[in-house]
């Protein structure tokens, strides 16, 4: 088998790690939380970083009228099929060995990734903006609009007494590395076919 095929199979197979490794993490730091509280986002669930973190995030956030972190989302049903499908497709393409299809796979995966990030942003926006009208604490921005509590997509942001940090986790890094491998597979395939 060609080196490019092996790389393509390996790279797309690395997507499968997302079934058991977390994709993303949001951590909240505050003086009262010397051990920060955080949630790990998987393609199938949102989980406690440390035991009871989500319960405690919900408790904190209910004062400003934020919704609970959902136990179930439509994404949890869709993402496994998309990720699993792309992994299987990538492996099949690897066996077929056509490097142009490797590139097509890479572009499709990148588009899906961007869509996924947009979806994540949309959820964050809703989570931070859609507040209960009966909230006990209602803060306003200097311009008089209601304050929103949307966590950042990537990086850190100060929200009242909390510093919210949003970063990829091991699953995402493995996915990026896998995608990188498929792109290398494309380049290598192009070289091999010359």
């Amino acid at each position: 088998m060609k080196k490019s095929s092996i790389l393509m199979i390996l790279g797309s197979a690395m997507l499968l790690s997302l079934f058991f490794l977390p994709l993303w993490n949001i951590t909240l730091e505050a003086p009262q939380y010397p051990i920060p509280i955080g949630m790990d986002i998987y393609i199938t669930k949102i989980a406690d970083h440390n035991p009871n973190d989500i319960k405690n995030i919900n408790l904190m956030n209910h004062y400003v009228g934020m919704k609970k972190i959902p136990e179930h989302m439509a994404e949890f049903d869709i993402f496994p099929w998309v990720v699993g499908g792309m992994a299987v497709l990538g492996i099949i393409l690897g066996f077929l060995g056509n490097h142009k299809l490797f590139l097509a796979w890479f572009v499709l995966m990148a588009l899906l990734g961007i869509a996924g990030m947009y979806d994540f942003y949309a959820w964050e926006y809703d989570y931070g903006h859609s507040l209960s009208p009966k909230a006990a604490i209602k803060f306003l921005n200097p311009d008089g609009t209601p304050m929103a509590y949307q966590p950042p997509l990537l990086g850190s942001k100060k929200i009242l007494n909390f510093r919210a940090t949003s970063l990829p986790m091991i699953g995402a890094y493995l996915m990026f590395a896998g995608m990188g491998l498929t792109f290398v597979a494309y380049l290598l395939g192009r070289k091999e076919s010359k």
Binding site: I35, P51, N52, K55, N56, L59, Y63, A136, I137
Partner: protein, 662 residues
Amino acid sequence: MKFILKSFSILIVFALTWSLSSCGGNMGEKKADNSGSALGKSTAERVFVAPGQHDEFYGFISGGFSGQLAVYGLPSGRLFKVIPVFSQDGEKAYGYNEETKPMLQTSHGFVPWDDSHHPDISQTNGELDGRWVFINANNTPRIARVSLKSFETEEIIEIPNSAGNHSSAFVTENTEYVVAGTRFGVPIPQRDMSIEDYKGNFKAALSFVKVDPKTGHMNIAFQVLMPGFDYDLTHPGRGKSHGWMFFSTYNTEEANSLLEVNASQNDKDFIAAINWKKAEEFIKQGKGKMMPAKYAHNVYDEATMKATSTMENQVMTLDASKLPGLVYFLPTPKSPHGCDVDPTGEYIVGSGKLAAALTVHSFTKMLKAIEDKAFDGEAYGIPILKFEAVNAGTVVQPGLGPLHTEFDGKGNAYTTFFISSEVVKWKLGTWEVIDRKPTYYSVGHLMIPGGNSRKPYGKYLVAMNKITKDRYLPTGPEVCQSAQLYDITGEKMEMLLDFPTVGEPHYAAGCPASLLEDKSQKIYKLEDNQHKYATKSEKEAKVVREGKNVHIYMTMIRSHFAPDNIEGVKVGDKVFFHVTNLEQDYDVPHGISMIGANTSELLIMPGQTETFVWEPKEVGVWPFYCTDFCSALHQEMQGYVRVSPAGSSTPLKWGLDGEWHN
């Protein structure tokens, strides 16, 4: 006349020593203030633990007549917690809530107070293992076991045939036993007889309480019945002397009145050496005698969060007078108080509290004396070993009124002197005095972390004083109790710190912080809560009437109770608030109290359930609220119970946020 002269001369010596020691004290103190240590740090820096930093050691200091056990950080002397043990504590609802009331049950009924004296940390292979700390109740004889994970009292066992449980609660080197020796001789079994018939008729029980190595659960394995002397303090053999327990005695005169004079006549009293391994053999051979006895055994179950009190009805006894080889007496001058065994297990230090010298016995010599039958008569059938045959040495003129000795593990011993108000450092083996430092004032016991084990941590020494006088800002006639911290790493001791204590600090145990801090309980898992009346979610909250009893299954979470409105309670009802803290976050307890309840608040840790009883006496609408500032909306954490007249038809219902159930 002779007696008057004698006491007069003692007074003169006392006065001289007092003035000498206070002179030396002032000089010593100045030196401590101005000069740094070898490391060049000021005294203040050496006890300063910066904000947010942790102390190096835990100190568990007995609460004396408060009945409790206080937890301090060393070297800072900061008070962290007062663990309720033998006295009711309204702050933590100990002895007030339905769960812990059984902890204070005794054969005499509910006893809400005691006098706690001597904490001792559990050991494995002669070293501190940090699982439990045991402490004795002196007045109504009991031993308590406190968990060093939850820092709460988990078990209390009453000691029958005992009175003034003073020589207690010390553990053997694998925590096989925790012991309880009686300070008062009493009729055994108790009966109606003339006090004047004490001598020869009263007896004393030395109890060996077996500790389950896994659960820590205690049961009285046996009691050694001894002559009716007063058994003052005790320490276990260790290393080579493991298997023996040494008890100091006074009142070998067996006086029953004016003991300050009549129990101070004998030149020598005894240290009783008990061979507990032999005791175990005697029991196996059927030489023990089971006798009827009534004593309470109270156990708190962490899963059900409920204490249960069981009344036991018999105890195994061994008659020391009739079982040769079980007990030997080591003559020791002048009413010894402390009876302390050095880390090697070879030396037994007797502190004759009315003597001007310290007597040290040798375990090796003791075994030889027993083998050679080097006896100097007997007392009630128990052989008295020849003083010369067991004595290892004497620390000559170390001070006045020696009380208690601990060790630094480097071959040095440190003894407190009550009358001359000082701590004296001396060398084991050569018996020479190395250093002396004053205490302020009249020191009782001292503590070196691990100082009663094979492995002392010889860095600090805590001296616990009986008198405080002018050392702090005055607080009326009752001034604070006081301890003092000394650095013992150098050749000479250095006083670093005074700090106030809770109740009278009789005795203490200490250990490195690293032994405990990482395993300290943070929360209780809600799913593990097996309390009979637990409510694990708001949906399950309810109110149930059973005749006159109304059971409220209530939850608490930031920042509300569920339910927080209750109607249908009537005058004459007995209302049980079973309240579960649904929090699962570190340091988020909630409290609850009800106006007019004839009991304390509840202070409930995350994941736990507790119960208090309220018997409404008046018609009205009565509020309850959260007593522990839990959150930004703590003040809003409140609710109402409507109380209707007895016999009214107000239906029982409960609600939260306008949603009612019935």
